[in-house]
Subunit: 324 residues, 2 copies
């Protein structure tokens, strides 16, 4: 397909064009990559901006149910919603966390919603780039909100936070001991903590959990990009639909404050610089991933392991061999 035609389809908001465009940027074929770059370049100056919302939560907290309920609410308000995922484990687990659209059955049937599974690549760096480019395509396609979901494993939260305007942490009600289970680093990334399943028998526990996290958030250093009262902990119930509009109001209040105070643009610029540096590093390190480089690296690694060669000397030999 012609790139100009595909770009026009994406820009008009056509979901099939968007899906094909994302498939193109996910390809690792060199000729596809060139076309993907041309596509991104053609769409890069649309000026359209979505609200990019990162969402993290461990399995079992109800992420899919939350996204479905929250997404349906936004669609009901006339907004267009895209859902993307960063799941570096998807190749190992044999399927993406978003591979099955039946996870969000109602939302996936909505004309103004777009759901895309995580690209199946084992390298977080590769997944990060594809997801970031998919976000750009969704923005060019005129989506109002882009939700970027991740499971709470390894570095994937950092990756998602670096491409989000707001970062949400979804939690389930739990005893006080669980508080330590959430890594401090993730707490520090969160703009809103949402305690899900705040209904029925779990409501009292959810209230306690929410109060615990609200207390923990107050102990964190105040961030200059936040108005008073943020980051916040709130109660929601994805199954009952309660707390969702309040959460959405808080997200908008925070986004508006940051736009008014210059933090929004500064944050996006800093993210762009970060991804540029990351692209440069990845491109340099990609030279080590050819078959020839890997073979030579294994052989030299054997020499190093048995003490016949020092690490630095072996590195120089490898780079000289690669002409790199």
């Amino acid at each position: 397909m012609d790139i100009a035609e595909l770009a026009a389809g994406v820009a008009s908001g056509n979901r099939r064009s968007l899906a094909r465009a994302i498939t193109l940027i996910e390809s690792s074929r060199n000729d596809h990559r060139e076309r993907a770059d041309a596509l991104l370049d053609a769409l890069g100056h649309s000026g359209k901006q979505a609200l990019r919302i990162g969402l993290s939560g461990t399995p079992g907290v109800g992420k899919s149910t939350f996204i479905e309920a929250f997404g349906m609410m936004l669609v009901g308000q006339g907004l267009r919603v895209a859902v993307l995922a960063v799941d570096p484990s998807s190749t190992r687990s044999g399927g993406s966390i978003l591979g099955d659209k039946t996870r969000m059955e109602r939302l996936s049937r909505e004309a103004s919603a777009f759901i895309r599974p995580s690209p199946s690549q084992s390298q977080l760096g590769g997944v990060a780039r594809r997801t970031r480019e998919a976000v750009a395509l969704c923005e060019a396609a005129g989506f109002d909100v882009v939700l970027i979901e991740t499971v709470g494993v390894g570095q994937s939260e950092t990756v998602v936070a670096e491409m989000s305007d707001l970062f949400l942490l979804l939690l389930a009600p739990a005893g006080g001991d669980e508080l330590q289970g959430v890594k401090r680093g993730i707490m520090e990334m969160a703009d809103l903590i949402l305690v899900n399943k705040a209904d029925g028998d779990l409501l009292p526990t959810a209230r306690r959990t929410c109060a615990d996290y609200a207390g923990a958030l107050r102990l964190l250093r105040k961030r200059s990009q936040d108005p008073d009262g943020f980051p916040k902990a709130l109660l929601v119930s994805a199954t009952k639909g309660t707390g969702l509009s309040e959460a959405w109001a808080e997200m908008n209040a925070l986004a508006d404050w940051r736009k008014d105070n210059g933090h929004w643009a500064a944050h996006r610029a800093a993210q762009a610089r970060y991804w540029f540096a990351e692209e440069v590093r990845q491109a340099l390190l990609a030279r080590l991933s050819t078959a020839a480089a890997r073979d030579r690296m294994r052989d030299l690694g054997d020499d190093v392991a048995r003490g016949a060669l020092a690490p630095a000397a072996a590195a120089r030999l490898l780079l000289a061999d690669l002409g790199a």
Copy 2:
């Protein structure tokens, strides 16, 4: 100075030669680097091995006092002891954590001890390489024990653990809440946790802290490279000198078990492979640190930040410009 002469001096255990050799490997001058490589190559096949002990602990836990007391005990047993440091913050704080030998006044006067401050470089990668090479020089100089000290900041524990045979975590007595303050990752690296200041009024608190950590260690997954009962938490008092010989006995028991079970050699081989891969990565990324690369990167970063260029496209331009 002639490299062969310097190598002979180091191999004979001469401390002045060792100090000069370490100064040579710490130099960033290209001609010095070539001579440093020749020196490491000349000394690389001595077959001498020291017990490399990594030691981490936040400021205030009494690291210097511990190293002085522990080092004096080893020296008293006829062992030769070298002390190195990894402190990536040393340039910022205006002085190395080991810059002042008066921190270990008695040990620094011992003929069979050698104390070397952290190299003053801002890049952890650079500090890691120099320290690793300094460890190799200390081994070639016939030291029996090499202590590698680090403050508990950022990634420096990982760096030290990757060049150590044993990893010690030094802690101060503290209330139960403090347990969460130690990152799980560092707990998982530790072979021994030493609760220092277990004397006088602090003894009861130290006992409780030690029991808390012993309990926490039992919850960690059993590691295949450990005999039953490891990792362990022990009480020590660096000022009173109590618990030091017990801690040393545990270190030797663990080292002997690992040697008998093949883990020792496998661990060193894996570390060598790790550092080889790390050297290759650092050498590739070093191309970004020239003045020309930095200037170009800043300019392209400006374009990316204001949205005129996509991160991936800017990365390709940069690498093409660098001919890299």
